[in-house]
Each structure stands twice: as C-alpha cells, then as structure tokens.
Amino acid sequence: MLCRSTARLCLSAGAALCQSAARPSPSAGLRTSAVALAGPVGAEPPLELRPLNKDRSNPVPVETSIAYLQSAAYRATYGSEPVWRSYRRNHKGHIPPRKTRRTCIRGGQLSTGNPCPACRDEYLVLDYRNVALLRQFVSESTGEILDTSRTGLCQVKHRELLAAMTKAREYGTLAFDVPFRVYDYSEYKPSAA
C-alpha cells in the first residue's frame, strides 16, 4: 500500500514518461525519500519526482493516457496491479458508507484529502479507447463491472466509467461475451418444393 507522502510524489511522476532506472516498485516494501536513483552510466534519464498537482481544469488527451499506461512511470507507481488496489477509503467506523463520495473535483481542483484512484492521477482517463485501463475495472471471473465498494471511485468517475464501458461495447474496442443463441432450424429451412 502506498503511504500518503510517497503517493503524491510517485503519482506526479506520470508527467515525466521517462525510462526507469533501478527503482524499487512500491509493492517491494522499500521506501525511500531520495529524489532520484542514478542508474548505470549511459542509461536513460531516471524518473522525475514532481510536486503534487491539484489542478484538473485541463483534461489530459486520451492518447497521452494510453501511452502513460505503457510507460515506466506507470509501472513504477502501480506495478502490475489494478490502479484501485492500493487505494483505501477514509471513513468513520468499521463499516464504510454504502456510496462513495459524489466527486473529488470541485471548481476544477482536487478538493479532498484522499482522492479516488481515478481522480488522484490526472493521466488516468476513462475513455472507450483506453482499453488497458477499462479492463482493470472488469471482474476477471464474471465479466461484471466492479462496484464502487471495491474500486473506491467517486460517483462521478464511476458514471464516467459506465459510459466508457457502454461506448467500448458499442464500438467493439473491449471484447465481451454474449449469450449463446440456439437456432430453431425449422424456422430457416427452405419450404419443401
């Protein structure tokens, strides 16, 4: 699980899209406050750590998001797990409220202390073409779209996700199963001459 301070630093590295040096992934259990770890001589430049950006008034284009999901910065931040796995909601008591908050973004800025997985990283754009991201919100075993109780998305982002899923099925970017159709051949056989 990412701790709060490193979460902000790591996630802002999304803007860098640089090649990674020998940087430990968050799930490795190592924590460091070093700004950058230098790799071997002649390697690609290391990942940058930038301060947290709360501005959400300029939406990121979906092509940038698709490229981000293949980048070293994404791999360093999330590893191979879904983006919602490391998120934990803050609430009073043992049982969480049935619905997540309505939205994390007000007036074009992040307005909460613990934004949901889709709002905290501005490079995660829920779009029907961003299949690598959409697939993380579909259950492996039943093909259902995961509920906010598992993903922790705010309601606005969850609705955006549902809209993106509907469009993905419409345009065929995301493959999904349909019921098996049984044909009654007697309806289609040509009438005997």
């Binding site: 259950s139 075993s141 039943t142 093909g143 259902e144 099925r169 419409e170 345009y171 065929g172 970017t173 493959a175 999904f176 199963d177 349909v178 019921p179 098996f180 159709r181 049984v182 044909y183 051949y185 309806e187 289609y188 056989k189 040509p190």
Partner: protein
C-alpha cells in the same frame, strides 16, 4: 429416330441448366446447408476439444463451485452420452441463408387519414406463442397508407416489445466500417461472430456482410485455429467451400497432418458444387461411400493401439492421398504449394514408419 432426337435434346438442356446454375450469386446456400450429410461433415471438420467447447461464458452470473460426484459405470456412460449431446448443441452451426427479399406490401390506402398523425405508426402482434419471423407487423404512414412493415422496422419493433438478451435495437457501430476492420485486425473473430449471431437474423444482409468479412480476414491471416472448437468453424468451412476457396484451409490441414479432415473438406466442396440441391432422400454416390470408407477406416486405425501393423495405416492413408492429389490436380488454384506440402507429409510419414520399424527390430533383438 425420334427417340434419339429426344435424348440429345435432354443432354443439351442439362448442360445449359448446369452452366446457368454455376454462378455463385444465383444459387441459394440454404438448399444445401440443411442436408444431414453436409451437417455431419461440418460437425466432423471441427476439432471438438471439450475444454474449448465447454469454456464458460462470462455473463455476470454468480459462479458456482464445481461438484464432485461418485458414479457407477452406467451413470458414467449416461453422463458421457449427455455430454456428447450437449457438444452437438454447443457446436450448432448458425444457418447459412441467402440475403432476404423485401416483404413490404400495401394492404390499404386511406387518403382521408392524411394529416391525422405526423409520424409513422407501427403495430405489432405481441402474442407470446408466435415466431418473431412470422408475427404480423404493420405500418400506417402519415399519408394514410397501411402496409406490412419492412425488415428493418420488424427487427426494431420486435426487439422493443420482445427483447432478445444481448441484442440492441439499433445496429452497434462495431459492425460498421472502420470499427469492424479494427476489431478484425485485433483478431477478435469469435467475439465479432458471436455478437453478430445474437444481433442479426441469418438472412440479414448486414449479417452476411459481417460474417463474410470475418471469414475473409481469417482466411487471409490463416488463423483457423481461432475458430476451432467453436460453432463458427463449420460456418467458415461452408463459406470457403461454397465460394470455392478451400486451398488455404486444405494446406492448413495437410501441414497439421490431419488428412481425414482434408478429405472431408474436399468431400464438402464436391457436395456444394453439385448443380442439384442435396436432399436427404437421395442415396450417397459410390464415390462418396468410398470416401466415407476412407474416413471410417482411418478413424479406426487412429484408435488402434500402437502395435497395429503399418500396412493398414498406409492403405487408408493411400486412399486419402489419392483423393487429395485428385483435387490438387483438377480443381485447386494453389497447385504448387499444395503439392509441396503433400510431398513433405509423405516424406515425413515414410521417415516415421522407417524409424518405427527399426525401433521394433531393435526391441525384438533385445
């Protein structure tokens, strides 16, 4: 004299009919598809791997834990027969029909009703025991004409009042260009075909367009194994045999050393080329029965133990090779490639038999 003249007239007539009917566009595939011989061939051409055929579909249902049951031998046989029956159901090939003809016809003209409504009204008979293809659907135009609904209107109104699970009222954009080509380039063939089966009727021109584009793409990319052990492999084989383009699939079977499948494909090709539609009443010709002997003996030799003599194998293999060679020489387009593949196969199988013989001799000495 008169009798001889009559014979020559018949001969000319038959030739004329055959040439006219050989045009692919004018023939109706549904006259051939439903024959039990064609259906059996389409079933046999499939790999029928149980793991793939019975792969569960992810439809958002609650998952159940598997059950472990103790069975007697009789129960086990009964269960095996049930599984064979279910296999046939799962591999039911979607019907192949020609494109449907328009069915609009005017029932009444009432010019006095003009101006009563500003849009068309559709009326449907929603009795549950009617077939969707036969139920009565009519349209009242704003100018007062009462007519039967066309196919597009029928599809929409049927889906609104009697919805089919998985189908949308309007055609998904995935079946339009360029999205269809993008799906096929991502090699999502089974997903496209399954959705087309649910969305369209088999005689819808859009269904024929989508399935033809998919089969053409599979044939061009030679990715036949994607459709193996699905219901669509039979439809693919029928499509290729109907349009006389079985060479790539034949090459695929020869390279995988599946000679019995290759022979069945050639048999299907010959059945679909015949000018008269096949009816189940006509007995199989002598050539077909010799071919079927070829398959049955090859399947028997396949199930025998390894101690069987190589002679019976090579005999049935010889029959199969003759049939394939005959097709390659007379009807194939890619003759050199197929001949080379057949030569490679013969060389490989001769090598294998020689190695087996030497192994047996060595074991005998020991």
């Amino acid at each position: 004299m008169a009798f001889r003249r009559l014979l020559s007239f018949n001969h000319v007539g038959n030739n004329f009919c055959r040439k006219y009917c050989q045009g692919v566009a004018s023939r109706d595939p549904s006259l051939y598809f439903f024959s039990s011989r064609v259906q059996e061939l389409l079933f046999q051409l499939n790999d029928r791997q149980h793991d793939l055929v019975f792969k569960p579909r992810k439809l958002g249902q609650k998952l159940e834990a598997p059950q472990y049951v103790f069975m007697t031998d009789e129960d086990l046989d009964k269960e095996r027969r049930r599984i064979e029956q279910r296999l046939r159901e799962k591999l039911q090939v979607p019907p192949v029909l020609g494109p449907r003809k328009p069915i609009e016809r005017v029932l009444a003209k009432d010019p006095r009703l003009e101006g009563l409504h500003d849009s068309k009204l559709l009326c449907i008979d929603i009795s549950p025991d009617l077939s969707d293809r036969k139920r009565m659907i009519t349209a009242r135009e704003p100018d007062g004409t009462l007519r039967t609904a066309n196919w597009h209107e029928r599809g929409r109104i049927n889906q609104i009042f009697l919805p089919v699970d998985g189908r949308t009222v309007t055609m998904p954009k995935m079946f339009e260009e360029p999205h269809l080509t993008e799906c096929l380039d991502r090699e999502e063939y089974v997903s496209v075909l399954d959705r087309a089966c649910v969305q369209f009727e088999p005689d819808d021109p859009d269904y024929i367009r989508v399935t033809s584009a998919t089969y053409d793409h599979v044939d061009a990319a030679r990715l036949y194994e994607r459709l193996q052990s699905t219901r669509h492999f039979g439809a693919l084989a029928f499509y290729l045999a109907w349009h006389r383009r079985i060479d790539n699939l034949l090459l695929y079977f020869i390279q995988l050393e599946k000679l019995d499948q290759a022979v069945k494909l050639i048999h299907l090709y010959r059945l679909l080329r015949s000018a008269e539609p096949i009816s189940d009443q006509t007995p199989p010709t002598r050539q077909e029965s010799s071919q079927s002997d070829g398959f049955s003996s090859s399947s028997e030799s396949g199930s025998e133990s390894e101690s069987s003599s190589s002679d019976s194998d090579s005999d049935s293999e010889g029959v199969q090779l003759d049939i394939i060679r005959d097709y390659i020489e007379n009807a194939s387009v890619k003759r050199p490639v197929l001949e080379l593949a057949l030569q490679n196969f013969q060389h490989l199988s001769a090598e294998r038999r020689r190695v087996e013989r030497e192994q047996r001799r060595a074991d005998g000495r020991q």
